[in-house]
């Protein structure tokens, strides 16, 4: 994990080459019109990057990016013309203020997802468009609004970048810094949290991820990049116009991010080039603007249909294939992802290995600060106290899913069984905090779990797996397990040791670097188990761990479950339909049927109970 942090991916390398080209070659050959076009392309690259990472890392679509650019530009112009402040200050102020706007946009994202979220952000973009049209940009002039379209009274560019050429270099430098900000996030705890959120919010919460915080954070970063882009654009032109920041342009930016390839850095460069350079080229060739609209539309449609990973994806596939042909390297089971694929850190970091420990330590500072602010505390759990479920009631509308269920689980491994729809998973969801109860409580280790938010329960030491294996495709095995430890206040060394120990325990240490998307279902299940064992767990819950597993695999799982208590002292709850597994691993078992508790006690006794046989195995009570 440590060496991956400073690894540069092929797409990143290509992006850096591109930036170098733009810094060194473009200013000396381009005329002033093209310099402006390249500068604005660089600005939009940054804005696109903000949209791309939200889409590719979190699966969230923001259609407000151009509106946020407008906000950044507005603030820069206002501070420049109204107060005469230096550009650097304006740039930073714009970035910080747009972070706040980004946070505001995140509010709907805490409740919405997918198309609806996209539509709400589109509505916000419409709002920005109209605000800009109404209040105009402060391009100089008197008064607070300072509205004067078309004026250009001495915009203070940074003193190191007064000329157009120098400002292009300056812009590219800031854009590169912006990319670094995202990349660092991606490779550290936030990136792992985002990958989990993208996979499933429930899984993220049960891994202790504060979903609201990380979503808001992502919107803030996206806002920051948009604001910086707008500020730089204002710096390049000295004045802005409401027509640049229309809602339809925000949609276009997103569309181009997909076409360029949202998974790749280079994709943002392609997208911005299509947005700015292509129309300028078509215009230069004397093509009618409407015709270029047609070409543009057709290109967009073509790219969306034929290149799911975007242009950058196609290019990277191509270069990856060439690379493979040239070096004739095969990919074994342990070889990691194909060399071109970003998103999963792989390979050894050849760069800066010497100073990486120092840098890592520095990078940990904000994380610790964040933990301090968000207040992650864990109470040492006492392994000997039982899990007490008291009088839990859950209603879904008129259906009573759990009817005054009580049980005290005091053995190392306990089972919950019952026919489909009995309320087993609902009970687990109550313990996890995903389902609101109409009454009752769950106590463990001396505290009332029901009083804690879901992710806090995970910090406390509650772990669970789901019926579907929740392993983030974007992360490798090690990172998936690490994500569970990220919110906890242990040192990096402790975390890494614990991950390694858990992977060894489940037998996945030889596949620690294998990316999530290449795992088979048993490996995914084992990764899930490893996730449940790190960070001093107090309770581990498995929801149908043997579902879809072969006999041998179930056997292995059963042995692992039996060893959990000795391994980390946690109590385990297991739901499964495999009665043999339950009989083998669980000392005591709770049986539910239609939300009622029909039996609880030693597993052998419970399984012999005629009521249980009738409900669960479908045998008439008399016959039994």
């Amino acid at each position: 994990m440590r060496s991956d942090l400073f690894h540069i991916t092929p797409s990143g390398r290509a992006g850096l080459l591109f930036a170098l080209f733009a810094i060194l070659v473009v200013p000396s050959v381009a005329g002033s019109q093209w310099l402006n076009i390249f500068t604005s392309t660089a600005c939009f690259t940054l804005a696109v990057a903000g949209v791309s990472f939200m889409y590719s890392r979190l699966g969230m679509v923001s259609l407000t990016q151009v509106g946020l650019m407008g906000v950044g530009g507005w603030i820069t112009l206002r501070l420049n013309y109204g107060l005469g402040l230096p550009f650097e200050f304006n740039l930073i102020a714009s970035g910080l203020i747009t972070i706040v706007f980004g946070w505001l946009l995140a509010l709907p994202a805490l409740r919405l997802r997918g198309l609806y979220l996209a539509l709400v952000t589109l509505m916000a973009a419409g709002g920005f468009e109209i605000l800009f049209a109404t209040f105009q940009f402060p391009n100089g002039g008197e008064g607070f609004w300072g509205v004067q379209t078309g004026s250009r009274e001495g915009f203070n560019r940074p003193f190191i970048a007064r000329s157009d050429e120098a400002f292009l270099r300056y812009t590219i430098f800031v854009v590169t810094l912006g990319f670094l900000v995202i990349e660092l996030h991606r490779r550290l705890a936030p990136g792992r949290a985002w990958a989990l959120i993208r996979r499933s919010e429930a899984a993220a919460m049960s891994a202790g991820v504060n979903v609201s915080l990380y979503k808001t954070w992502a919107f803030g970063i996206s806002g920051l990049l948009g604001g910086l882009a707008g500020s730089l654009l204002a710096g390049s032109l000295g004045l802005l116009d409401g027509g640049t920041f229309k809602a339809s342009e925000s949609v276009m930016i997103f569309a181009l991010a997909v076409v360029g390839g949202a998974n790749f850095w280079l994709g943002a460069v392609f997208a911005a080039s299509l947005f700015r350079i292509l129309p300028a080229l078509l215009n230069n060739w004397g093509l009618d603007a409407d015709l270029s609209l047609i070409i543009f539309g057709a290109g967009l449609l073509h790219a969306v249909i034929t290149a799911p990973d975007g242009i950058a994806g196609q290019l990277m596939d191509l270069s990856g294939n060439l690379y493979k042909k040239v070096t004739n390297r095969g990919t074994g089971p342990n070889a990691g992802p194909p060399p071109h694929r970003e998103g999963i850190s792989n390979g050894s970091g050849r760069i800066s290995r010497a100073f990486s420990p120092v840098a890592l330590r520095l990078l940990q500072i904000p994380a610790h600060l964040l933990h301090y602010l968000v207040g992650t505390r864990i109470t040492q759990t006492n392994p000997d106290t039982p899990i007490e479920v008291k009088d839990v009631v859950v209603r879904f509308g008129g259906v009573v899913a759990l009817n005054h269920i009580s049980a005290t689980f005091s053995k190392p491994v306990s089972g919950i069984i019952g026919p489909n729809g009995a309320g087993k998973t609902t009970l687990m969801n109550v313990i996890s905090g995903f389902v609101a109860t109409s009454g009752g409580s769950v106590h463990a280790g001396g505290i009332d779990l029901t009083a804690l938010a879901s992710h806090r329960r995970s910090h406390w030491g509650l772990r669970r797996s789901f019926q579907k294996e929740e392993v983030a495709d974007d992360l490798n095995v090690e990172e998936n397990v690490m994500a569970q430890l990220d919110p906890l206040p242990f040192s990096l060394q402790e975390k890494q040791d614990e991950v390694a120990r858990a992977l060894e325990f489940v037998g996945m240490n030889d596949r620690a670097r294998k990316p999530g998307k290449q795992l088979n279902s048993f490996e995914r299940r084992l990764t899930d188990v490893a996730k449940c064992l790190v960070g001093r767990p107090g309770i581990v819950m498995f929801d149908e761990p043997a579902g879809g597993m072969s006999v041998d695999e179930t056997e292995t799982l059963g042995s692992l479950i039996l060893k959990i208590h000795d391994y980390c002292g946690a109590k385990t709850l297991v739901i499964d339909h495999d009665v043999d597994l339950i009989a083998r691993v669980c000392e005591e078992t709770l049986v539910l049927d239609f939300g009622e508790r029909i039996a609880f006690g030693k597993t052998a006794d419970v399984l012999a109970d005629p009521k249980v046989r009738a409900a669960y195995l479908g045998i008439e009570e008399d016959a039994a």
């Binding site: 409740r111 919405l112 997802r113 919010e201 539309g297 967009l300 449609l301």
Partner: protein, 318 residues
Amino acid sequence: MLNSKYTNWILYVILMVAAVAWLGWGKPNKIVGLFLVSGLAVGSLYALGGIGMVVLYRATGVLNFANGAAGAAGVMTAWQLGQWGVWAPATWCAAILISLAISLTYGRFLAPLLAWREPVVKAVATLGFALIVLGAVSFLWIDDPRRFSLPTDKIGVYILGMRVTVTRLIAFGTSVGIVFAIWLYLSQTTVGLQMRALANDRDLSALIGIPILKVETFAWGVSGVIAGFTGLMFGDLIRLEPTVITFMVIPSIAAAVCGRLDNLGIVLIGGLSMGVIESMLTLSPTLKGARPIAPFVIAALVLLWYQRGTRLTFDSKD
């Protein structure tokens, strides 16, 4: 459950009455009435656009940004034919046919290629198509002030002492009529049943033998016809300019969002309310500037109101 449903409606009525009363306070009744009627007419157009989108979205999972462009192409054709002296009703039919053809072209040949992508990407693809159509239309008819008017503009009826043009009545009547007709169609016919099945679960529908392509094509057709009609009305009541009509999809989407891309009745009411509030805002000197934002603000608030109290944002398939 029932309770919260009633609460929603009561809250809606109170808010609506309060908004209209507040904005219209101290103004002569006649003026208020006039703005109310014009608001209802514009609102019907938002609603119509929204209904076309929802019918399509439910059956195909595609949010079609190209609806507005198809309508624009239709109404420009009608205008052109009118200039050439073609009999007016024939030009209207031509408008609807053009819009239908555009919608079907996309639905039959391009949309199936993207069937496996997520909804946002599908929506983005229709944006590409919208640009092609818009580009072609703007290329054929360069920017020029034009007017498109229906003969019904000149006929007025007096309702409560106010003169209302028949065109506005048609816009309003059609939006209500279409909602009713579609509701009837969905509940009474086999294709309607199949469309409902598709809206519910596409994979299962395919398994039980519903001819997906056929049903989808039908939905594209219906939405194309609605888009054509909406385009005609936009051209007449608001402005005859391809770009303006194309991007009228955004307030239409706002109306569709009010009905959660699902409930046509609420789309209608949402669209009408947006139109009315937008129009009534003209009466307020301070809020006049905020007029065009009204649909967005309303849609965003409605969506958030729906989602109140939920903790997790599960996808439908989670």
